[in-house]
Amino acid sequence: MSIIRIDTDILIIGGGAAGCFAAVEIHKKSPDSKVVIMEKAHIERSGCLAMGLNAINAYIHSGQTPESYVSYVEKQFVGIIRKDLVYGIAQGLNEAVRDVEKMGLPIDRNDDGTYKKRGKRSIRIFGERLKPLLAEAVQKTPAQILNRVVATNFIYDGERVCGAFGYGVRNSTFYVVRAKAVIVATGGASGIYKPNNPGVARHLMWYCPWNVGTGYAMGIRIGAEMTSFENRFIALRVKDVHAPTGTIAVGAHSKQINARGEDYLERYYKHIGGNKCLTQHRLLATIEETKAGRGPCYLDTTTLSESDERRLKEDFLNMNPQIVLLWAGKGMNPRNKPVEIHGTEPFVVGGHCQAGYWIDKERNTTVKGLYAAGEVAGGAPKKYVSGSWVEARIATATALEDIKDVSLGDIDDSIIQIEKNRVLSPLNKKSGVSPLEMRERLQKIMDEYAGGISMNYVIHEERLLEARRLLKCLKERIKDMTAVNNYNLVEALECVDRIDVARVLVEHLIYRKETRWSCYQPRLDYPEKKDERWLVFVNSIYNPDTDEIKMVERPLCQ
């Protein structure tokens, strides 16, 4: 097994929305700085943006302000958000979108040249090639791109992050990248819970199946502080293919109806504006209707005109081609039959909800030398793609400023050997637990004891304590994992990372003894929201020496 050593000024881990934007940004600000991107897949089609996007969900239209954006997000998250972070994002949204438009992204415009409004805070784009366009912009810079290199751990000397280890799946090579600053941008985590579809359709899911929370896990393992994992994200999506419903509800103004054709959001939420209720209410009411025997629930697409229908299909081809295939397979068009919707399994994400690294306004994590941007960064929900770009911009400015008087750290050979042995050990075993078995066991535990789909997402202390116990046992079996080839080895490493994320998630779910987000974190034993006690952030710090997760509280205002 050969080792490749690379030295750089800034290492970006994850070449997705935030990672690619960060590389371009560094080149603009400091053309002489050396940049390396370590990417698990290929930056042309990796991460959440692989299929494309049809909207930019965070944008400030005229009449709106960064302040109004912050109040909107605060209301959606029932009082708990990092206003400082969200405000900084809101201030930069429009400029970031303009920058990406200049890279070649087609955006729908009015005759007067302004962007066409899709929803109150979104615009319609033709983003099928958004990811290749971002990649093209990166390829114009001298950044060194390490495609198909999976980051496995940070290089950490106990005080500062001084790079990262990675495994190259194409050349079976171990990478040791030393850097003066590391920006983590690996996205959120899927595959923690049992997914909606079993077996052969298991990856027909909403979130990117290869964003498994490695960036979180790497931070957890060096004791970086994490926030709000209990604010899980459960999405209301098109049944079976899990395409986003916003394209239909916002883009085509379709209403949610139950099996009897009733507009049930009006019934549940008349007092707060019916269809203008919070995002989580749209899902909550759908679950309640189904429990009450009035499901399945749908988005009523039967009122669309023929041209609306074609436009809807075009929008989906730009983002989720599967749904067009679903209609074709059923031999139907959305105008003939409403589109069935349901809830997904829970995900851990910082872009729709707010699980992630605890950061300051400058995107410093709690560990020196490490900065976070995009879904992996916590405290700022509803940042979506454009907010991820803004965070990347802020993080690069901070990192560039910081490295002025930093030199590369020395790395002890023994540390390299330890990590190499850890990473490769599944390949050296003949029998044991396969990655598939490990993943299914984890997903079953989380589904049944930590509020997955089969439990209607509800949680309570006794079951969570059982989840804690079972996860600890599962972690002990990691040493028995086997892999037969590189692809399989990556699956094994993904299991290790998911287990670390799941354990932290369970501690967060146990700790918050109230129900703050009625759909994302419904506690049967503490069904009320308690502002006097719980208007705080629940944070965690893992201690690798004792294998304990310490919970801490942080005040709302930072």
Binding site: A41, H42, E44, R45, S46, G47, A50, M51, E101, K102, G104, L105, P106, F126, E128, R129, L133, R148, V169, R170, N197, P198, G199, V200, A201, R202, H203, L204, M205, C208, P209, W210, D240, V241, R310, K313, E314, L317, N318, P321, Q322, V324, L325, L326, A328, G329, K330, G331, Y487, V490
Partner: protein, 110 residues
């Protein structure tokens, strides 16, 4: 099934160290067999993202849905032409629909 690769159409991206579908798949699922034809290593790991479908220069790859999700034989192909992406959808009854969608602004329009 999630993608279907037509071996009669696939030319194996001869001359390239890595086949185009192999290079692009976000989940590292496509590879070339010994006969230089593309294959998918695990249908159950496919996200049906269509990246490989768009990337194949000879349209050898079709997107299909797993039988479980949709029991009928519909399929989807795509072709990139300059600034446009051209999609063809085959319905279960054999009729087809085409979509030509702008995917990129050329230099002059930016």
């Amino acid at each position: 099934m999630s993608i279907f690769i037509d071996e009669n159409i696939c030319n194996g991206c001869k001359g390239l160290a890595e086949a185009r579908c192999e290079r692009i798949c976000p989940g590292d699922l496509c590879y070339r067999k010994e006969n230089m034809k593309a294959a998918i290593r695990d249908q159950s790991a496919c996200w049906t993202c269509a990246a490989c479908v768009k990337e194949c220069p000879v349209q050898a790859i079709e997107l299909r849905l797993p039988f479980q999700a949709c029991s009928n034989g519909a399929s989807l192909k795509a072709r990139l032409k300059h600034d446009k992406t051209i999609w063809t959808v085959w319905y279960a009854d054999g009729h087809q629909e085409e979509f030509i969608i702008q995917a990129k602004c050329l230099k002059g329009d930016r």
